[in-house]
Symmetry: C2
Subunit: 438 residues, 2 copies
Amino acid sequence: MTDDWSSALLTDRYELTMLQGALRSGTAHRKTVFEMFARRLPDARRYGVVGGPGRFLDALERFRFPTPVLDFLSDARVVDEPTLEWLAGYRFTGDVWGYGEGECYFPGSPILVVESTFAEAVLLETIALSIYNHDSAIASAASRMVTAAGGRPLIEMGSRRAHEAAAVAAARAAYIAGFATSSNLEAGRRYGVPTAGTAAHAFVLLHDSERHAFQTQLDALGVGTTLLVDTFDVERAVLTSLELAGPRLGGVRLDSGDLAITASRVRKILDEHGATETRIVVTGDLDEHAIQALAVAPVDGYGVGTALVTGSGAPTASLVYKLVARARETGADAPLEPVAKRSVGKPSKGGRKWGYRRLDGQGVAGGEVVYDYAPQETRDLRPLLRHLVSGGEVIGREPLDTARERHTAAVTELPDTAQQMSRGEPAIPTHFEQRSAM
Amino acid sequence: MTDDWSSALLTDRYELTMLQGALRSGTAHRKTVFEMFARRLPDARRYGVVGGPGRFLDALERFRFPTPVLDFLSDARVVDEPTLEWLAGYRFTGDVWGYGEGECYFPGSPILVVESTFAEAVLLETIALSIYNHDSAIASAASRMVTAAGGRPLIEMGSRRAHEAAAVAAARAAYIAGFATSSNLEAGRRYGVPTAGTAAHAFVLLHDSERHAFQTQLDALGVGTTLLVDTFDVERAVLTSLELAGPRLGGVRLDSGDLAITASRVRKILDEHGATETRIVVTGDLDEHAIQALAVAPVDGYGVGTALVTGSGAPTASLVYKLVARARETGADAPLEPVAKRSVGKPSKGGRKWGYRRLDGQGVAGGEVVYDYAPQETRDLRPLLRHLVSGGEVIGREPLDTARERHTAAVTELPDTAQQMSRGEPAIPTHFEQRSAM
């Protein structure tokens, strides 16, 4: 997407027709608070990982209604003339707070808090949820893979199994969660994610022989490259690699078969030929469980594709964006009142929220505390909300590596149960602290 | 994405480094055939649905390396100077054949056939797979939902649970597979997908009362609108709706609770008040099974979100793009030879393929026939490959409704077993017809 792109139509039609209704009834400019949260963690995970704040801030700044967009809305009769006039001048002027990107979250964590008029805030619902639901799903899955890899580097290589634009966001989210590199070039260009890659079977098959292909790759990319050795016979290919590259060969990649057994055999051959520093990279439908199962195998890195970009069983974080408070009158001073629907099975808690993580004396997280008031801050309460947008101005931008470091710290702080790959309860419980029953 | 956007970096790094190697060894300009196919259907489905050809042709035309893209590749040292020079002039000049959009496919169907030099064809791997894998996953899930709905209209409303750009493609794919409308406005603007929507709980909660909200919506959108009636008490909300709108109310939406029981109660109230034409639309985590379970309930339409955009358990179609033939020398006349890797568990069949559907005397499909030669065409063989790109020129564009009609015809042609929601074998078997053992 280029810089002049408007994000405004990446939106459900009803956001605009609700705006039309509210403009007509005079409720559009009532002050409101919308909150994004998860009712539960996907797939019985131990924690979720916030992905999306950086991309959301970009989308917020591009949320405008230029003439071509207004023309479509007019031609398609989506909204009436007064609504089009209001949209022409749209610019978000409110405040946004949110959990930092890479932070862990739990059921009920107020991941994003948007305070503005109904008209301004309701329009952001779809785009905010699209970005957070996708990026958080990927970051949450990626974090478990990083844990399972136990310090060995992970390459993200799932672009081909995801929508082409989602793939770029997935590479970014995986990097935040601790992946070392991505195969996706646009993620490198747009976000500075380090890129990496080896070669495909097609490259071997193109050439007159495997030897011909290996020699070509070594000539073109140097002895530090990684050769793909499973097109025909793995052991023979490894011997050919060593013959051509010598013991300084960078790496070999295995993409099929029993990876643990094959890696052991390959390691033995490499070591016998003095190639003790040559790395073994494995790929091929790996997920966190397959990665963990390879912990004792002589593997130096993992390439992960499909499981990463599909959220490893949970392709969406299922976050929701709900109205939790609104004024009964228009005006900045009108008091906010909590509101909540009572739909069967989908209850929500009214009122603006403040999220904190409670730490014990050793700095280990013991609980997520969600207040319906701004609490007195104490040393054992780590505040989780950052001020992202102030009076419409984006103030919460940060480098991608800041999010990556935040994630490492947030996971380290959790109790050991967070590292379990099994399905189960959240690693810490969520407590709702209410000043008054509402 | 705007029109000046280049799609070239939506690509894995190794496509470019393989190009660099092949340019150096002189194999880059060997004629090749790459083929896209599925080893198996996702999730033990009965058939897959081809989604993506239209978007792929758009991406192919935008696959260029303008200066900013080359600058990135140079600065990040992805490829060397000779490769950058070659990329600067990149334009696909080969031929592409593919299954029509909306067509059904089976394991081994040659969904896309790309014939060109290695250099030109290998670069398209990632973008082609990203588009087809996403769009086919969504179309395949959507088609089952359309079957389950048995003629009742389906609204696609999953944008908030998918990456914001994937959401637009998902709306398009769902429409091809038979959905009536989408909530996604960009899908309306870009592809002409009809858009629709109702209202959210936030709209009800914003107002002073449910009655206030309903009156506002009726004033703004007219009596034909659909009111959301489950924010507090469904039956009271329906009575309020009828009081305000009378029996000509367009519809009511239910988003929670036991939808079958609630719909029956609501239908009874509506009918008792003469609102026999008022439609009941149900939403709330519906998938094809939930839709089918509501077949006997008095429901007039379904809104489907999460399950649609996540492919209902199969978020990627797992299609692969493999080199199946290549010349041993450069030049247009050099003969193509079939190639195939022998990796454990991932075999592929070498050689260019031609796909046909065999029909019986009643026009019912009996098998997918994949030839490794162009067969004599007969009346019982329906050819499945369309010529999409000829000498680099896109010739296969078609209106979205053509794909939609093709899909209806293709599903109708399948045997009854295709309509089963249970997991199982493909509805028809795939036969590989080989002229010679290769």
